[in-house]
């Protein structure tokens, strides 16, 4: 910025956007929590508003704005940013709400004062009303670092308070910070420059962004943005001031901090990092694949679900409904040893004798009971695919325990600080498929929930990266609910099917991304990520997160399971299901080498893939057929929720391309595998 650009300071202008005094019918004041990534904004937001938002130990947890309310204010949680600008989507989202804010609560990680104060100064230079929260006070203390908050407050001209968000220490001062937020000390030279733009863009905040060359804001006002040189000049100048401020306010007792974070170091270097990753995966695999999916689910599904819930529900229905019931007694090898059929045209209520007889025999440990309700509507709700019986057994007794354990595993990974290190270790590998290490984060989150992970692709920079990551997620990553079903189907089948499954899915993943990397223009943006400190996940956050995610999962899944079960039921009663089965038969039987009824699973899979996978339970399959079926279902169309999110994030065209290609891909790869292994 040349000297001649600096024009006279005109006196008549507004420094702040017009304000609404907090009258009754005036809109509520907007309090925006802003700060660098991973500094504790979401934790503070949750405390203030009571609204649950994810808190994790990696930069980029929050990618969208959440609104809550606190006293007479509207409070907003925002994605973390290193500065206000529009370099990527997250930043645009955050910049917009910051521009609209009445009050900004700038959360700062005291450990990284130098990094964080850059944004603080920028917010002050925007002429916003600001208060600064020095968070992570506990970590400072541990490391014998002292920050002179009083002096910092004098230099900045705004309130500065200390907090430790994990223990809520210092939160009693949050009210004070909000009420006393004010415009800080302005940098004279810069302030004058901004007046040049002020007449044209209306607010000092936007003037600053325009001066810094922000194209997005400039376009909005139809003005020429500052040049790249201007921006660099302003940034370097600000950076120098920050460094100076830090040297004034921070004292460190130990010599310049070299944290020794052994695990963190080991996790990042492939020589030790790959073994660590493998051990982690095996532990998770063992706990979920063996302990949960065999022992716990066996109990919840067979004992609670089948033996009690379904048994008594059906018995109750059979009291009045016309039914044929077959009870098979099985021997050790699961062969039918003895079979007895009860025909009750008017229900058990008129056949008390028979009921007692039935209850005795059906309660034998080796008994297997089949109901044939004569009324199609009764069948629809209580039969084999019964809307009520199936939805509840699958959801509560089969999926729930598994999904919870997957969520706990994910939460531990998220909270430990491991993910950014994994991203770093895999950076070069991912470069080969047009991504950088950061993409590991959404992809891994996909194993929790693909829908959520699709939104997290926002933390990637270019469209190309987002497209590739989105495709990997939608095509190949099985979400926790699907993994749940898969681990039950494969449990006890040994390593071979598991190996084939992983190998095929992995190959597809590499092929898709390699192909897209070739076809789409542009190179991967280089990795630039800050590594948070590693630490033990906090139990309360772990439980809270698992609880809210599980709740969210159940809330959505039960609707779709219900709808799906109803759909299947209606198709079955009307006979359309069999038409569909016959139609798909050449594909199902000849190409996929599965029984005709496997087509049901695909109908169900269109609703939700986990539901589709669950549909496989009802069919007798060999191990290799199961392998083919789960490969096909995994690659099959994304569930409705993630399809909707994909349309929103990636556009209708891309969304539809992915959806239709999923059909082709799933059947092609599934069939190919079938031809080889069956």
């Amino acid at each position: 910025m040349a000297k001649s650009d600096i024009i006279e300071h005109k006196e008549k202008h507004r420094h702040i956007e017009p304000e609404n005094p907090l009258g009754l019918d005036s809109p509520r004041a907007k309090v925006v929590l802003a700060g660098n990534p991973n500094v504790g904004k979401s934790l503070i937001f949750n405390y203030l508003s009571g609204v649950y938002v994810d808190v994790s130990n990696f930069p980029g947890t929050t990618v969208a704005i959440t609104k809550g309310s606190y006293k007479e204010y509207d409070v907003y949680d925002t994605p973390g940013i290193y500065g206000v600008s529009s370099f990527n989507d997250e930043e645009k989202v955050a910049a917009e709400i910051i521009l609209e804010a009445d009050i900004i609560i700038n959360v700062v990680n005291s450990l990284y004062l130098e990094r964080d104060l850059f944004l603080t100064l920028q917010l002050i230079e925007m002429g916003k009303k600001v208060s600064v929260i020095l968070n992570f006070a506990d970590e400072l203390k541990k490391r014998n670092i002292k920050i002179n908050a009083k002096r910092l407050s004098d230099i900045l001209g705004v309130e500065v308070i200390n907090t430790s968000a994990v223990s809520k220490a210092g939160f009693e001062q949050l009210d004070y910070a909000i009420e006393n937020a004010r415009m800080g000390k302005q940098n004279e030279d810069l302030h004058k420059v901004l007046h040049n733009f002020l007449n044209r863009v209306g607010s000092q905040a936007e003037a600053l962004l325009v001066a810094e060359g922000d194209e997005y804001i400039s376009r909005k006002h139809g003005v020429e943005p500052g040049s790249a040189d201007d921006r660099e000049y302003i940034y370097i100048d600000r950076r120098n001031r920050v460094n100076e401020i830090v040297s004034f306010v921070e004292v460190e007792d130990t010599s310049k901090g070299r944290f020794f974070n052994l695990f963190g170091r080991l996790a990042v270097n492939p020589i030790t990092g790959i073994p660590i990753l493998l051990v982690l995966l095996s532990v998770i695999f063992f706990l979920i694949g063996d302990v949960v999916s065999q022992r716990i689910v066996n109990f919840t599904e067979n004992t609670i679900g089948k033996r009690y819930f379904e048994y008594y529900t059906k018995l109750l229905v059979a009291e009045y409904a016309s039914t044929d019931i077959t009870v098979n007694l099985l021997d050790d090898k699961e062969n039918v040893e003895e079979s007895k059929t009860f025909r009750i045209p008017d229900g058990f209520s008129t056949a008390v004798e028979m009921k007692n007889d039935f209850r005795k025999i059906s309660r034998l440990p080796n008994a297997e009971t089949e109901y044939h309700f004569h009324n199609p509507f009764v069948r629809l709700f209580f039969g084999e695919f019964g809307v009520i019986t199936m939805t509840i057994t699958y959801l509560l007794f089969l999926l729930l325990p598994l999904v919870i354990s997957f969520y706990i595993a994910m939460a531990m990974l998220e909270d430990s600080g491991y993910l950014p290190r994994l991203a770093t270790m895999l950076d070069r590998t991912l470069n080969r498929i047009g991504l950088n290490g950061r993409a590991v984060i959404p992809i891994l989150l996909g194993f929790g929930c693909v829908t959520m992970a699709t939104i997290t692709t926002r933390l990637l920079t270019t469209d190309k990266e987002k497209s590739i990551a989105n495709a990997i997620l939608q095509f190949t990553i099985p979400c926790s609910a699907q993994l749940a079903v898969i681990s039950v189907l494969l449990s006890g089948a040994g390593f071979k099917p598991l190996f084939i499954y992983v190998a095929v899915i992995f190959t597809v993943m590499i092929s898709i991304s390699t192909f897209m990397n070739k076809v789409l223009k542009g190179a991967a943006t280089p990795l630039l990520i800050d590594l948070p400190i590693m630490r033990m996940p906090k139990l309360d956050n772990l439980f809270k997160k698992t609880f809210f995610r599980t709740y969210g999962f159940m809330k959505e899944a039960y609707v779709w399971f219900f709808v799906g079960a109803l759909l299947i039921g209606v198709l079955e009663i009307t006979g359309l299901l069999f038409v569909f089965q016959d139609l798909l038969a050449p594909v199902t039987t000849a190409w996929l080498k599965l029984p005709k009824e496997a087509a049901n699973a695909f109908v169900m899979g269109m609703v939700r893939r986990d539901f589709g996978a669950a549909g496989l339970f009802a069919i007798e399959l060999t191990t290799m057929q199961i392998t083919v079926a789960i490969i096909t279902i995994t690659l099959f169309v994304p569930c409705i929720a993630s399809f909707m999110v994909m349309l929103k994030e990636r556009g209708i065209k891309e969304g539809l391309i992915v959806w239709f290609s999923a059909w082709i891909l799933a059947f092609f790869v599934g069939g190919l595998t079938a031809q080889i292994i069956i």
Partner: protein, 88 residues
């Protein structure tokens, strides 16, 4: 202005190299960052010309992990290659 930026720190340096070749465990000074988006991103993170930095790790393939004060930052090979450093 960038010259001024370097001059202020006025280090006497041995001939330099690029960041991707930094040796693990050594201290160095950032000598140059090419203009553009990456430069401003690095400035925001706290890394600018003249800063003293330690290389924590150099992964196979050239991904570099550096530490500035307390902050650990991972930098991909393609970016590291463009950053010129000089050992102290």
């Amino acid at each position: 202005m960038h010259d001024a930026d370097i001059k202020r720190h006025a280090p006497t340096l041995v001939p330099g190299t690029s960041l991707d070749k930094a040796v693990k465990g050594t201290y160095f000074i950032i000598a140059d960052i090419p203009h553009g988006l990456h430069k401003v991103q690095l400035i925001r993170l706290g890394i600018s010309i003249g800063d003293k930095i330690i290389c924590l790790q150099r992964l196979p393939g050239g991904t570099i992990i550096i530490q500035k004060n307390r902050q650990e930052i991972a930098i991909g090979y393609h970016l590291a290659r463009e950053i010129k450093i000089q050992y102290i």
